[in-house]
């Protein structure tokens, strides 16, 4: 059915409004990062200032330990992602397929941890990490991030496995697979969208986290990106150019990872396997 013209116009107007709302801050940051010096405020409306320069970007790499922070962040986020995927994919499977004593209680307990805001857990977790001697170590951050991201991921994977018919695994076992092989050859490939969401979520949790990192990390050479960038915002003179340039660079990997994974986010991988 053809849509009346005014409805089309109205729809596009609303969409444009939201695009503008989401793009404005990003463009603003891009603009600031291209300005020479530390001009945060400007009466100029041009997105690309007339006297634009890559000076802030160059400085980030030459005069600041930006690369070091980037490396730190990549290591921490990478490990958190890998552990998150490994643990959530197996724990979720157990919750979905096995009936064991304490199954419901454990699942509820995991859910309960999600009810507390992370800031509330900050102190007890910090004490834990301090007692374990993990302050100022990557391991401390990794444990912290994995612990906060896992509950959601486990539930998410469990929900995903619930949609994979049990008869597929049974067919695999009759075809000669052990339980573990059936999991590896049949269940995991079908759970790809779930794994991708788990991976993205774990990665983002670790990549953009600031508050916890600020507690655990004290040595500047161990800083992750959010910590390092915050350092540009000093009390007397903030280095807005560097701040903006770094912000842009930080968001690139996230966008790239998301784009790379989004094609796996299609659902309905199991279509055609069984007749419902």
């Amino acid at each position: 059915m053809k849509e009346p013209l005014r409805i089309t116009l109205l729809r596009h107007a609303v969409l444009l409004l939201f695009v503008a709302i989401s793009l404005y801050p990003v463009l603003n940051v891009v603009s600031i990062s291209l300005r020479p010096g530390d001009r945060l405020r400007s009466t100029d409306l041009a997105i690309i200032p007339p006297d634009w320069t890559f000076e802030s970007y160059v400085k980030l790499f030459t005069q600041q330990p930006f690369l070091r922070w980037l490396g730190n962040s990549l290591v921490v986020s990478g490990v958190v992602t890998l552990t998150g995927v490994a643990l959530a994919s197996t724990a979720g499977y157990a919750f979905s397929r096995f009936r064991f004593i304490g199954r419901k209680a454990t699942m509820l307990a995991i859910l309960t941890t999600q009810m507390f805001p992370a800031t509330m857990l900050l102190l007890p977790l910090y004490v834990l990490i301090a007692k374990l001697g993990l302050v100022d170590t990557w391991l401390g951050l990794m444990v912290f991030y994995t612990a906060t991201a896992l509950p959601f991921c486990v539930w998410q994977m469990k929900g995903f496995y619930d949609t994979i018919p049990a008869s597929l695994e049974e067919a695999a076992r009759i075809d000669g697979c052990s339980r573990a092989q059936a999991f590896w050859h049949v269940v995991l490939p079908l759970a790809t969208p779930g794994l991708v969401i788990t991976a993205l979520f774990s990665f983002m949790t670790a990549w953009s986290e600031y508050i916890v990192a600020a507690q655990v990390m004290q040595d500047e050479s161990m800083f992750t990106l959010p910590l390092g960038i915050k350092g540009f915002q000093a009390s007397l003179s903030s280095q807005w150019g560097l701040y903006a340039a770094a912000s842009i660079l930080v968001s690139i990997p996230v966008v790239a990872v998301f784009l790379a994974f989004s094609k796996y986010l299609v659902n309905g991988l199991t279509v055609g396997s069984v007749k419902e």
Binding site: E170, I174, D175, G176, G272, S273, V274
Partner: protein, 357 residues
């Protein structure tokens, strides 16, 4: 190829449900055995225990001379076709069929040869590169069967393989499965709730109810001499007519003296007292050499073309009579009914309903 022996098999679930209650069966090498019964009768559970997908609570299952109670499903040398096909959606048809062989480390040329043979036998060669989601229901079922036959197992297990197909396809696949069994000669255990499949496919039928075997026999033997009222009502379509009443003075008298059927020389051996008379619709005939039974008025006439199913009321309950299609039968007509000799089934009036004659 192999025999399958089941001895005193029980399945009790953790929540206490006693699904299978002491089943014993001897399945001959190359036999096509059908397990049939209403849903929840334990037929699928029995099959799944043979497959190794359910643990055996007690009892013994042997394939050949080997006790397989604790053997992993993949090591039992069986193949199974599932009701919902259970094809691996992320693999092509070829990979689906090759999967089991690959897991067993069969050499690639051998896999290719066997997949090609099976595909040819099922006329699915042109589908080998496709994914399951690109196939129709009938094609998926063929692939599922193909995946089972490439394995060349000792025993085939079928768990209601045709119940998801439409009526026409089901008839076609049924004939195809019969042909396949004749060609391969492999032992088959086939579970269905459909009595037509059971009658047409099985060398023998095992009829189950409430986890217990009701009768084991060749299809026609079960049809002609059902062991109890449950079997009599389950096999045959339309179902057998049942008339509650009493055996008295050498005759069966329908409740409320609505009708009377002389039992002839058999009567002397039958216990006097309450009983249930069973007569199949085709044995309840209008004229001929039948023993006269009653007269009844047609309430509803279902015209099928080759025959008309006339619903009549006798003794206050509704019964079905098969009238040949070339004979007029319309609502309101009065039929004088007789029972064909040999068409009399007498059952005990208790819940068990054991056969009396």
């Amino acid at each position: 190829m192999a025999t399958v022996t089941i001895r005193d098999l029980h399945k009790r679930y953790a929540e206490g449900f006693h699904a299978v209650r002491g089943i014993s069966l001897d399945i001959a090498d190359g036999e096509f055995l059908v397990l049939v019964g209403p849903s929840g009768c334990g037929k699928s559970t029995t099959l799944r225990m043979v497959a190794g997908l359910e643990e055996v609570t007690s009892g013994e299952i042997r394939i050949g001379d080997r006790v397989i109670n604790d053997v992993a499903p993949g090591d039992r040398d069986i193949a199974m076709v599932f009701q919902n096909y259970a094809l691996y959606p992320h693999l092509s048809v070829r990979e689906n069929m090759a999967f089991g062989l690959k897991m067993r480390g069969t050499p690639t040329p051998e896999i290719d040869r066997r997949v090609a043979d099976a595909a040819a036998a099922l006329s699915i060669e042109h589908l080998l590169a496709r994914r399951p989601r690109e196939l129709s229901g009938g094609q998926r079922q063929r692939v599922a069967v193909g995946r089972a036959i490439v394995r060349e197992p000792e025993v085939f297990l079928f768990d209601e393989p045709l119940s998801n197909l439409d009526a026409k396809l089901r008839v076609q696949m049924r004939a195809e499965l019969a042909r396949l069994h004749r060609r391969l000669g492999t032992t088959v255990i086939y579970v269905t709730h459909d009595q037509v499949e059971a009658m047409t496919l099985g060398d023998r039928i095992v009829l189950m109810n409430h986890g217990v075997i009701q009768q084991i026999d060749a299809p026609l033997a079960i049809y002609r001499r059902p062991a109890n009222r449950f079997v009599a009502s389950f096999i045959g379509s339309p179902t057998m007519n049942f008339f509650p009443g009493v055996i008295r003075d050498g005759a069966f008298v329908v409740k409320g003296d609505a009708a009377r059927l002389p039992l002839g020389p058999d009567a002397a051996r039958l216990p006097q007292g309450p009983a249930v008379l069973g007569v199949r619709p085709e044995d309840l005939v209008v004229t001929g050499d039948a023993v006269p039974f009653t007269t009844a008025v047609i309430e509803v006439a279902e015209q099928m073309g080759h025959e008309t199913l006339a619903h009549v009321s006798v003794g206050g309950s509704s019964h079905v009579v098969r009238v040949p299609g070339d004979r007029a039968a319309s609502p309101g007509d009065r039929l004088s009914l007789g029972v064909r000799p040999g068409g009399v089934h007498l059952f005990a009036a208790d819940d068990e309903g054991r056969r009396l004659n």
